[in-house]
């Protein structure tokens, strides 16, 4: 299952780059083994020749092995460098494609049913999962390369005798399975415990952080922190177990190399120089299997990430190009109250009574709690596209994307020019403020809107909704946080704009000035709920 998910997620990886990374990894692994083995052979052969007298020493061909040793030192370096560069390049390319694809899939979902990734934790996990996958790509060429290098080492050991080579072959063949088995035993449970305990700790911390003023007022910091430390303890134990598991695996590999060397030595039948060759080849070949140990250690956590990504990847749909043709204005119904196109109404009611939810439901951003309809069709039967064509929302909490002011305005519709943007900003009473910025419309906003105040962010979001040119404008507390004069001016300009464009308005506000724009009020309590059983969520 996971292997298939992994393959599906990584299908965009550049095969050619992976092949090159594999070639480099192979050259590096073989150079590494050969460098040690050949050095051992050279020393022993030289000692034997030297001991046999000057004539034998003169006859010994030292040029080729000594040059080969120096050459191998260079080829090992170059190949390692190449392997790292090429495999990272393949991984970065694959991840860029995967990010783009995943984003496309997510973007094509209906907001009312899509997985919610707006929380920092969910998106951070998404990033972490993708990074773990990147690591997987980087390591991918190393494993087959070290297997082939192992076969090569067995070949070298044949010089020391077939029994030694056979023993090494068996040892090396058993190693990947042994490592995977040991890693599974050592990591599966602690990895799951650590992940779960981390989640618990985070939830508890956020809960306590929400009660922070009370904690401080009653001086309960010590008790709360002791409580959190208790929750953190299983995580620490699991993480320590993972660390020790890594130590066990590394120790296993080291001991295994020594046992392999001892076995080769004990079973060797060839001349001394060839025994030295096989002996060092055996040690180096076990070392070159370290990639298996690293991969095996990470397997448990990588699998969880892959499974999560795979569910996102199976989402249906691709982002469609939206046709910007203006839709005919539809009539809407809030419960039993029918509202004609172009009307201006206010939804009133206590706070927490669900006014905001009605606007978000009309905007197609969340499922409706109330019985709402567009052109007589219940909202839940309307496609997201249909709702988008009718409504433009300026939400209570202005959501701005990271980028410039113009980037945010351009979100509304494609093909907007600067004059359109300036006109909309003027209606939103933001034109002067932005004209005064040195970079004007291209002024970058930091992630949460940084340089703009809360009220200014709301007005930017209002200007964006105006630019969308939809038949209905949905405004949620548009003048909150404004002083009286600005509020009056904004309401006046907005009224003129509504008159000029004939746009309908659904307004939520508790302030009298914007309410004056509307001609009809609907009490939220009078709007029937869609399904009483679901009203609580």
């Amino acid at each position: 299952m996971t292997r298939r998910d992994e393959t599906a997620l990584l299908q965009a990886t550049d095969r050619k780059l992976l092949r090159w990374a594999f070639v480099c990894a192979l050259v590096a692994a073989i150079s590494s083994i050969l460098l040690l083995a050949l050095s051992g052979w050279f020393l022993t052969a030289a000692a034997i020749a030297g001991a046999a007298g000057p004539a034998a020493a003169m006859g010994f061909n030292y040029l080729i092995p000594s040059a080969a040793i120096r050459g191998l030192a260079i080829s090992r370096t170059a190949a390692r460098y190449g392997e790292r560069l090429v495999s990272h390049r393949a991984a970065l390319g694959a991840m860029a494609t995967l990010r783009g694809k995943l984003f496309g899939k997510l973007a094509a979902q209906d907001s009312r049913t899509a997985p919610d990734l707006s929380g920092g934790d969910a998106s951070a996990r998404l990033i972490g999962d993708i990074e773990a996958l990147e690591d997987l790509v980087v390591r991918r060429p190393t494993r087959p390369a070290s297997l082939i290098a192992a076969v090569f080492a067995v070949g070298l050991t044949c010089f020391a005798g077939w029994q030694a080579a056979l023993a090494l072959a068996i040892l090396l063949a058993a190693l990947p399975g042994l490592l995977a088995f040991a890693a599974r035993r050592l990591t599966r449970e602690p990895a799951a415990v650590a992940a779960a305990a981390l989640g618990d700790l985070r939830t508890a911390f956020i809960d306590y952080a929400a009660a922070r003023p009370e904690v401080i007022a009653y001086g309960l910091g010590d008790r709360v922190s002791a409580q959190l430390l208790d929750i953190a303890a299983p995580m620490d134990r699991a993480r320590a177990a993972l660390f020790r598991g890594e130590g066990v695996l590394a120790g296993l590999l080291l001991a295994y190399g020594c046992v392999a060397a001892a076995l080769v030595l004990a079973l060797a039948t060839g001349p001394a120089a060839q025994v030295a060759l096989g002996l060092l080849a055996a040690t180096a070949s076990v070392e070159s299997m370290a990639a298996f140990a690293r991969t095996a250690m990470r397997q448990a956590s990588v699998e969880q990430g892959i499974a999560r990504l795979a569910t996102l990847r199976t989402l249906e749909g691709e982002p469609q190009k939206r046709i910007a043709a203006a839709a005919d204005a539809a009539s809407i119904a809030l419960g039993d109250v029918a509202i004609a196109p172009g009307a201006r109404i206010a939804v009133t009611g206590r706070s927490g009574s669900g006014k905001t939810r009605i606007l978000e439901a009309l905007a197609g951003m969340r499922p409706a709690h109330h019985r709402l309809a567009v052109d007589g069709m219940p909202l839940e039967n309307c496609t997201a596209d249909r709702l988008r064509g009718q409504f433009a929302l300026a939400p209570q909490d202005a959501v701005l994307i990271a980028g410039s002011i113009a980037d945010n305005l351009r979100l509304a519709r494609s093909g907007l020019n600067e004059a359109d943007m300036r006109a909309a900003l003027e209606v939103a009473c933001l034109d002067r403020r932005i004209a005064a910025m040195p970079a004007g419309l291209d002024t970058p906003l930091s992630e949460a809107g940084g340089i703009l105040s809360g009220g200014e962010r709301k007005r930017l979001s209002l200007a964006r909704a105006l630019l969308a040119g939809r038949p209905w404008l949905l405004l949620d507390e548009p003048t909150e946080g404004l002083d009286g004069a600005t509020e009056a001016e904004l309401v006046r300009r907005l009224g003129d704009w509504l008159d000029a464009t004939g746009t309908g308005l659904v307004l939520v506000s508790h302030r009298p000035a914007p309410l004056a724009l509307t001609r009809q009020r609907v009490d939220v309590a009078a709007i029937a709920l869609r399904d009483p059983a679901r009203s609580g969520d």
């Binding site: 050095s39 020393l43 010994f60 030292y62 040793i69 120096r70 030192a73 370096t77 390692r80 460098y81 790292r84 560069l85 860029a96 990010r99 984003f103 973007a107 907001s111 990734l117 707006s118 998106s123 956020i206 809960d207 009660a211 003023p213 009370e214 904690v215 401080i216 007022a217 009653y218 001086g219 309960l220 910091g221 709360v224 922190s225 409580q227 430390l229 620490d236 993480r239 320590a240 660390f243 890594e246 130590g247 066990v248 590394a250 120790g251 080291l254 190399g257 020594c258 060397a261 001892a262 030595l265 120089a273 025994v275 190009k321 927490g352 951003m365 988008r388 959501v399 994307i401 979100l411």
Partner: protein, 508 residues
């Protein structure tokens, strides 16, 4: 105790194992070359050396994580207390403080558990290797030492470039994740405006561009590891070539030492160990970067606020009180309350009502103006989401006043209308930290009962009626009106009924 010595010492034990192993194979090969029969002690050295190495590497991991976690727990305890239990002048978001107290501490633990022992090993182990090799061959030891000089020069040259490159790489990857996270976060509004295809194209273009840029950066970033790789291979090659020519008696200079095969082979087998500690250190470099960044962020946390000298409780007065709020300042506000009565702070959600309460409690810095400094021991706080600690309902009611008598607990329970809950499920009802099993209204009342039990004269209530049904809200309003006869009550609310019950409204 563990803290004072470094787990990196075990890397030296690892070297002892490596020396045994090297001696074992050198002995075995030289005996074979001399045509002598094999001896068990060579095998004993090989296997024993291997086991010692295995034990050492395990011990490094074991003690490194133990010591890192020991300091990690202390760091975490300090951060928990500082972030949750002490007033901080500039508030940090809940998500942000969770990252600091949980994720940054783990990052620092990784840094201490992986980088610290490796650094210790890298400073000491190469010297030990030189000393051990020198016992077999002075010239081979000299060769190792001589490769160190160009190695260090190379590292300085490549290392500076590589460090800059890898910092740029981290920054570029950070930008990329930032853009991706931002666009995923804002997806609902992007979909609402039908801008998915345009934004998807932008995200794809940006990720592709950053990937290409990063590859260029990596070319330099990998240089330092290439330098390390080259010198570690070169050390082996030079030792092999020197020893070979010495054994052949064909050195182009007078042979300063009469090497035997055993000495030569030992020097060769030890040569890879010389650069091994440096390679381990390089492998932990990423942890070092992340750990240092996390440490810097923790060091940059705002200090806890100093306690204002308080005056004995005799009412409260705020004059032109203003506090900082993201985007704009709140205030100036003027209000006063005596030993009894009720003030309502009003304003829409997000206008900073809770922060004004916190400023009165001395938990948030005041930008300008003044407010009577009240002793923290005189302030009771009834939160919108009251604190529930795992324990019984009784423990939770008595959090602020552990000495409270049974009668006063019963009185408080009656006052807030929790009798039916206590009657049905008892005061020993076990609660977890989420207060699972209690409704929102019941939790709110637990908070109020706790505030009443504390016997403190000033009661600060944050949205006491929010999300309550009409009847419960009426009951809470009546209760607060009752309390206002004996206490000074300041409520943050936008509930019209509660505002009507207050003696004074302060609009933000």
């Amino acid at each position: 105790m563990i803290k004072h010595w470094n787990a990196g010492w075990f890397w030296l034990l690892d070297l002892v194992g490596a020396s045994w192993f090297a001696w074992g194979i050198a002995e075995a090969v030289s005996r074979a070359a001399a045509g002598l029969s094999e001896h068990y002690y060579a095998y004993a050295a090989i296997i024993g050396g291997g086991l010692m190495r295995a034990v050492s590497v395990f011990a490094v991991q074991h003690f490194a994580i133990a010591s890192a976690q020991q300091s990690g727990v202390a760091l975490r305890a300090g951060l928990f207390d500082r972030l949750l239990g002490r007033p901080i002048a500039t508030p940090i978001s809940m998500g942000g403080s969770a990252v600091v107290a949980i994720d940054h501490v783990r990052t620092i633990e990784d840094y201490e558990a992986r980088f610290m022992p490796a650094r210790f090993g890298a400073t000491l182990a190469p010297l030990v290797v030189i000393a051990v090799v020198a016992c077999a061959s002075l010239v081979a030891a000299g060769i190792l030492m001589v490769t160190l000089i160009p190695f260090i020069l190379g590292m300085i040259l490549a290392g500076t470039a590589a460090r800059r490159a890898s910092e740029r790489q981290l920054a570029a990857l950070g930008d990329l994740s930032g853009l991706f996270v931002d666009r995923v976060r804002t997806l609902p509004i992007i979909r609402h405006f039908g801008a998915e295809d345009r934004i998807a194209r932008q995200v794809q273009g940006a990720t592709r561009e950053v990937a290409d840029r990063t590859v260029a950066v990596l070319r330099a970033a990998f240089l330092s590891s290439a330098v390390l790789e080259f010198f570690s291979a070169l050390a082996v090659a030079l030792v092999a070539v020197y020893c070979g020519f010495s054994l052949l008696d064909m050195l182009p200079f007078p042979d300063p030492e009469n090497l035997t095969l055993r000495e030569a082979f030992f020097a060769l087998a030890m040569a890879p160990e010389f650069y091994l500690p440096m390679r381990r250190l390089a492998a932990a470099y990423h942890e070092k970067q992340l750990g240092e960044a996390a440490r810097a962020e923790i060091a940059a946390l705002p200090e806890p606020m100093a306690m204002r000298p308080s005056v004995p409780w005799n009412g409260l007065r705020a004059q032109a009180l203003a506090i900082a709020w993201p985007g704009h300042a709140i205030g100036p506000l003027d209000f006063a309350i005596g030993r009894t009565g009720m003030i309502a702070l009003t304003g829409p959600t997000g206008s900073g009502k809770t922060s004004v309460l916190a400023a009165i409690a001395g938990q948030v810095a005041i930008v300008s103006g003044d407010v009577t400094p009240v002793d923290p021991g005189d302030i009771a706080w009834a939160a919108q989401q009251p604190l529930i600690l795992p324990g019984t309902l009784r423990d939770n009611l008595k959090l602020a006043s552990p000495q409270a008598s049974q009668e006063s607990v019963a009185d408080a329970v009656r006052a807030v209308g929790l009798e039916s809950l206590v009657g049905e499920r008892g005061l020993d009802l076990p609660l977890d930290h989420r207060g699972s099993g209690l409704s929102g209204g019941e939790r709110r009342r637990v908070g109020l009962a706790r505030a009443i039990l504390s016997g403190r004269p000033l009661l600060l209530c944050d949205e006491p009626t929010a999300d309550l049904d009409a009847d419960s809200a009426e009951a809470v309003v009546a209760l607060l009106a009752e309390l206002a006869r004996t206490h000074a009550v300041i409520v943050a609310t936008h509930d019209a009924r509660l505002i009507a019950a207050a003696d004074m409204e302060v609009a933000l």
